[in-house]
Chain length 207, copies 2
């Protein structure tokens, strides 16, 4: 099921709520109120209730949300209830950090392939993944990998995206500070660290 009228901002917040629910579950909680969930992730209770209202009635008045049921629902909405394999392209400092990052598992995400141009890196094994030559990138098609993380230099970004898409990738997490031209069937989320940091001063008090 695709909920096409759901605002992107709601989708952006669902993984945040998911983290709160996983935290609550770890603390042995069976139910959680929107207030407590909001507190645990730094959100607003009204926002949580509004976001969930797009998908139906998840809570019970006076009891709150069933942690296990809501976790399952959110994973289903985000389509991460089934495991999702991902490929990493670019194993420089950033790529290395991503490959070693332990936080993907709780979202059902798994980086199962990594590629680089540097002969010194090719063949090395990091976190159970052997780095391969980027010339072999097309082979991810055989593994039915639909997700990719791109941590390549800016001038290699569009070309890398083109190859990934040809190989069947439909979702790209892009760390190059550039806008990628992709067909409509492909979703790109660009993380531009400088751009995120550029928003901070706006919120800072003067002086």
């Amino acid at each position: 099921m695709r909920y096409s009228r759901i605002p992107d901002e709601t989708i952006r917040r669902l993984p945040v709520y998911l983290r709160g629910l996983i935290l609550a579950s770890g603390q042995g909680k069976k139910n959680i109120s929107s207030n407590d969930l909001a507190d645990s992730v730094g959100a607003y209770p009204w926002q949580i209730r509004k976001d969930f209202s797009y998908f139906g009635d998840f809570g019970t008045r006076g009891v709150g949300y069933n942690v296990r049921k809501l976790t399952k629902e959110i994973k289903k909405i985000l389509k991460i209830n089934i495991g999702q394999k991902a490929a990493l392209v670019g194993v420089g400092n950033l790529g290395m950090a991503i490959l070693a990052f332990p936080g993907f598992g709780i979202y059902g995400l798994d980086i199962t392939a990594a590629f680089d141009v540097n002969p010194k890196k090719i063949g090395k094994k990091i976190n159970n993944v052997t780095i391969e030559n980027v010339s072999e990138l097309r082979k991810i098609k055989r593994s039915k990998i639909k997700l990719a993380v791109m941590a390549v230099p800016r001038n290699a970004a569009q070309e890398t995206a083109d190859v990934l898409i040809e190989a069947g990738v439909r979702g790209i997490l892009n760390f190059s500070p550039c806008y990628l031209v992709v067909p409509k069937k492909v979703k790109v989320i660009t993380i531009d660290i400088a751009m995120d940091m550029a928003r901070l001063p706006y919120y800072m008090p003067a002086g």
Copy 2:
């Protein structure tokens, strides 16, 4: 001036537009239409017009936006018209990537100090910044650094934030996958790579 009624989402998009304007300026354009600006950054023209409408009338009908004037206005709104110094805490793979990242300058951001716990790293110079012992973190107060990037392990995150805030930091870009408890005067933007990736499958076509 603080525009408190401006949606966070508009503030999120301003640096995106800024990148488009810098691109246009580099191409020698004096004016740019909302359509062309939208095309260059992958946004919607109506969204651009709506976002700018919060700040007054930036464009001229039939001419578009004056690139230089709009660049200046956006920088002023984001308070990055004056240069902003930042400290980096944690120089692992991710911190190293951040320290070497060339993209901060166009937003007037400059990482001028870096800290780590690892004795092997302390004293090393990366991108003109000498890595210092994290025990010296409090000294950033003397340099009037108000911005910080945190690339520390999760279990060190809250403590690091507390020290930073005590030393005068008011804006934190946080890469630890956790929610930081901070006073209201401090703005935290958390970048959780797994969380961003967890949104991708939602947008991907089935099958």
